[in-house]
Point group: C2
Chain length 270, copies 2
DNA sequence: CGCTGGATTGATTACCTTCAAGGTTGGTGG
DNA sequence: CCACCAACCTTGAAGGTAATCAATCCAGCG
């Protein structure tokens, strides 16, 4: 089977500068003689990624078909309507996926970071723009390569299926947010989600007082993710700050002072 | 591999009345001696459904593991948080999938009809409510049965993957609509989508004048799908009617008078 | 014929957007 | 080192649009 039924067109139109995609393992720090097995096993993305269920020689062989590529901040990984030549796993950095209307209105459909797969929702062509928010390293497979690997490694296919399920659930959650939540609920929701995913702190434990949340993306990005204007985002964050629920270290570094209150707000219970 | 990694909990809590799920082929009209092969092959949903790539004895065997079930208007197929015991394919009728907030605010995440698969975005539990809009017939597989079938029939798995891709694209489109489109654009978009999917007319052909669109769902459903209030839905439809772009046969039966204009409006180009 | 639920229309309000200005931060170059 | 600049963020004021509140209309049905 194949991830997309459509065949790839003959004339690929690369989005990002081509040819800077270094050979696999080139980005491996230091010791080039390190066994392949250990390389992918020690990858920061491995635990959450498509390859998470592969180990040993399977992992090494699967990984050997991939390449690392580095994208600088602001650069496009691909654009909507581009032929889908590669699928990607984010190793480090942050990517925004977005769709646009002709007049410039934009909806960010998701932020992708370490371990996330990029290429879901593709039918031979990409259906969104993918841009690097900061310096990003991705692990890329060509579409035919990955499709063949899916047949060979059923655990990879299973993991992909699982990741697609998670994506559908995420998108449904976000639809509820976009369609029915107030700006305050949207912002609170966004901050809580960020805290859960990226703070590394177990929020379910008691005695949680403060949680650091880093926002690599701009206010404009946040606005386009939540279906708001940049001014409303700013004002709402200010309101949360004045209420003492959060504090701003810098514009991109928020400290949640009262995570429980923020969760209540996020779910419309406050 | 399995569609969901999570195992199903021991105590299933059925949403719809159980036991009315008739044995497979019971709903077959008339001749009970008709060969199995022909039954599924002549199913109204087959062309678009999960089983669309199966033929002959494979199709018959696959189909023999399913049951048909009929749900009356307003009845729940399942509720959010229910253990996911079955996956469904809609044979006839219309189903709405929705998520709710505690205070009753609701977002409809999709309308499902003939051929559509219900069960995407599930992690052992359903993540949305599924309700019958009118009388609905579904073809259901138990979760373990379908998971096993996916391993056995790779074409089914491929089709499922493809359907998940389509679903992700749909959801992303709808996020753009919810987050960034005006009420007028939302309504126009909705009508055009309905026309494309259900009118049976090829809209790309020239010389298209009028297109009939049936809306089985209520205005409340439309509002909760588009992130609007019922009043705004009604007012916007009225505006389109007064502009001559559409006409109302009845509240649930709309005639598109100018499909091109409606498409322009839907994409913010008018 | 009256009843009921859904749809439409009307009037008012609140909220978010828009338009506009000021403030902050980080980088660059003199 | 500091001034300057640009980009981004925040704050303010005004206005419009969709939500809310409320009444009427309409179709289906007992």
């Amino acid at each position: 089977m194949s991830l997309t039924a459509a065949n790839i067109a003959a004339k690929p139109k690369p989005a990002a500068t081509e040819g800077n995609g270094c050979q696999r393992f080139n980005t491996m720090p230091g010791n080039g003689a390190q066994p392949k097995t250990n390389y992918c096993a020690s990858c920061a993305a491995h635990d959450k990624a498509l390859c998470s269920r592969l180990t040993g020689s399977d992992l090494a062989e699967f990984g050997s078909m991939s390449q690392h590529k580095t994208i600088t901040a602001g650069q496009m990984l691909f654009s909507e309507y581009d032929d889908a030549r590669y699928y990607y796993t984010v190793i480090s950095g942050d990517v925004r996926l977005s769709r646009m209307l002709d007049d410039g209105r934009r909806q960010i459909t998701g932020f992708k970071s370490t371990g996330d797969f990029i290429g879901l929702g593709t039918d031979g062509h990409f259906t969104a723009d993918a841009e690097a928010i900061n310096e990003v390293v991705v692990c890329q497979f060509t579409v035919p390569t990955l499709n063949q690997s899916l047949e060979e490694y059923s655990v990879v296919q299973g993991r992909l299926m699982e990741m697609m399920q998670e994506e559908v659930i995420n998108l449904q959650n976000h639809m509820l947010l976009l369609g029915r939540k107030t700006p305050m609920e949207k912002i609170a929701n966004f901050l809580v989600e960020r805290a859960k995913k990226y703070s590394g702190v177990d929020l379910d434990g008691d005695a949680i007082t403060e949680v650091d949340v880093k926002l690599p993306m701009s206010r404009t990005d946040v606005a386009d993710f939540l279906g708001l204007t940049i001014e409303t985002v700013s004002r709402t964050i200010t309101k949360l700050r004045k209420n003492g629920v959060i504090a701003l270290e810098t514009a991109q570094h928020i400290v949640i002072k009262d995570i429980e209150e923020l969760e209540l707000i996020a779910n419309g219970e406050a």
